[in-house]
């Protein structure tokens, strides 16, 4: 099978090595957009192995990457105009940082790939350029003692590779640190939106059906009126947690993501209160504050996994308090809302 990004073949004494294009094709761009929307994201892979950009020889640099195609694409694009080798590890289609956390982008896999692809004979030098975030799974001194190769941690972002090479493997502190700017947060939002999957239809549908209940039995009219409002409230809370909170993350008060989400969820709820969207009775209004707060808070808390600065200890501490409160609030809000159907 010939992939679109393979532009030719380089002959080595150990057989042919695929040469890859360093420019994204229209198809690469389209696939990237789809993956950002969580379509085919868990099956977006390149074959692990050795690749070439340009016409590398035994003095050319070796760059190590993951077999998530988006990771591979960013690397090959950054190598435009360079003659280099790319060693792609089998990370099960997961990006460098996450795979390193799981150990698939790791010492053992790297050592195996060095052997499988006879890197000792492909290049005369003993340097491997590994993305810095790969250090979570790779132990440089172990690779050195077992293969003789020196792991050089390159910059976090592929776009800084050129300057890193040109300055003789020097990375500025800026190149070494992971920030979480608006631009990066925006890229993550589509995947966050798809988080709910079929619940995005199921939950509103249940509310729509239950909304028809009234003291006299069932009425499709009230299902439509109360239910329609319910669906708007639910989706608004959902978007508050997985779009607005990530978007405005640094500017929302509190450190805890669950509190940030609660803040945004309640801001929406308060504005809906004034728009008369939260129902007539005080009981129903309180129910909506509980439900909307819980949804937004929970989704915002889930964004810790996408963020680049939350620690396991911190998230555990946060969840210990927040998760029971979210579940309690959602459950009592739902019960309250159902009860208001009958009063």
């Amino acid at each position: 099978m010939k992939e679109g990004y393979i532009s030719g073949t380089i002959k080595t004494i150990f057989g042919p090595v695929p040469q890859v294009s360093t420019v994204w094709s229209r198809s690469d761009i389209w696939q990237t957009i789809k993956v950002r929307w969580n379509l085919n994201r868990m099956n977006y892979k390149v074959e692990p192995g050795l690749y070439a950009t340009g016409n590398p020889d035994s003095n050319s640099e070796v760059f190590v990457s993951a077999n998530f195609k988006l990771s591979f694409d960013h690397l090959r694009r950054a190598l435009n105009g360079m003659n280099a080798w790319i060693l792609v590890l089998d990370t099960k289609g997961i990006n460098v940082w996450c795979a390193a956390g799981k150990g698939t982008f790791g010492t053992t896999e790297l050592i195996n790939r060095i052997k499988i692809h006879a890197l000792l004979n492909i290049v005369d030098h003993r340097n491997l350029l590994v993305p810095q975030l790969g250090a979570v799974g790779v132990s440089a001194h172990e690779v050195k003692s077992k293969t003789g190769f020196r792991v050089i941690y390159g910059p976090v972002r592929a776009e800084d590779i050129r300057s890193f090479i040109e300055t003789g493997y020097k990375a500025t502190p800026e190149m070494r640190s992971v920030k979480f700017p608006l631009k990066d947060r925006i890229k993550l939002i589509p995947v966050e939106i798809t988080y709910g999957k079929y619940y995005l239809l199921l939950v509103p549908a249940i509310f729509l059906i239950l909304a028809g209940l009234n003291p006299h039995g069932y009425s499709t009219d009230s299902a439509w009126n109360n239910g329609g409002r319910a669906v708007i409230n639910l989706f608004s809370a959902y978007l508050a947690g997985c779009v607005l909170t990530p978007l405005f993350l640094p500017w929302i008060p509190f450190k805890r993501f669950s509190l940030k989400g609660l803040t945004v969820g309640w801001l929406i709820a308060v504005s809906f209160l004034f728009l008369n969207l939260l129902g007539i009775s005080i009981f129903e209004k309180i129910s909506w504050f509980l439900i909307m707060g819980a949804i937004s808070s929970f989704l915002a808390m889930n964004f810790t996994g996408s963020s680049t600065f939350t620690s396991l200890s911190g998230v555990q501490k946060e969840m210990k308090l927040s998760l029971p409160l979210q579940i309690g609030a959602a459950a009592s809000g739902l019960i309250g809302w159902i009860i208001t159907r009958f009063i």
Binding site: N38, M42, K92, G93, I94, N95, W97, C98, A100, G101, K102, Q132, L133, A135, V136, G137, V138, S139, A140, H141, Y153, V156, A171, P173, R176, S177, V178, K179, F180, P181, V191, T194, Y195, K197, L249, P250, K255, R256, F257, M301, N302, T304, G305, S306, S307, T308, F309, T310, S311, L312, S313, G314, V315, Q316, K317, E318, M319, L323
Partner: protein
């Protein structure tokens, strides 16, 4: 440093400066500028910025760093609770939404 920091005084990072040989590997691999060099040895400058990724521990040739590393991810922790395992986002499974 940007404005995004997480909870204070929870991070499990420890450094044994006695063992440090000053190789600066921790400074290189840390994505949050937690370490700096003081008197030719590593020093924890910004402990609260640590996200417990574990890169420094993994790359310290002297074994001077310890940190309880793992995913700072609520979904991963819920996964762990449901399965009775360590927190893990476990992307190996089908249809798993993951980082």
């Amino acid at each position: 440093m940007n404005g995004l920091t997480y909870l204070k005084n929870v991070v499990s990072l420890e450094l044994d400066r006695q063992k440090c040989n000053g190789c600066k590997m921790c400074i290189t691999v840390c994505p949050h500028e937690v370490f700096e060099l003081q008197d030719k040895k590593a020093f924890i400058k910004n402990k609260d910025l640590c996200m417990e990724c574990g890169a420094c521990q993994k790359n310290c040739p002297e074994g001077a760093i310890s940190v309880r590393s793992g995913v700072g991810c609520a979904a991963g922790i819920i996964n762990g609770i449901l399965r009775g395992t360590e927190p893990s986002c476990d992307c190996a499974g089908p249809e798993k939404n993951c980082c």
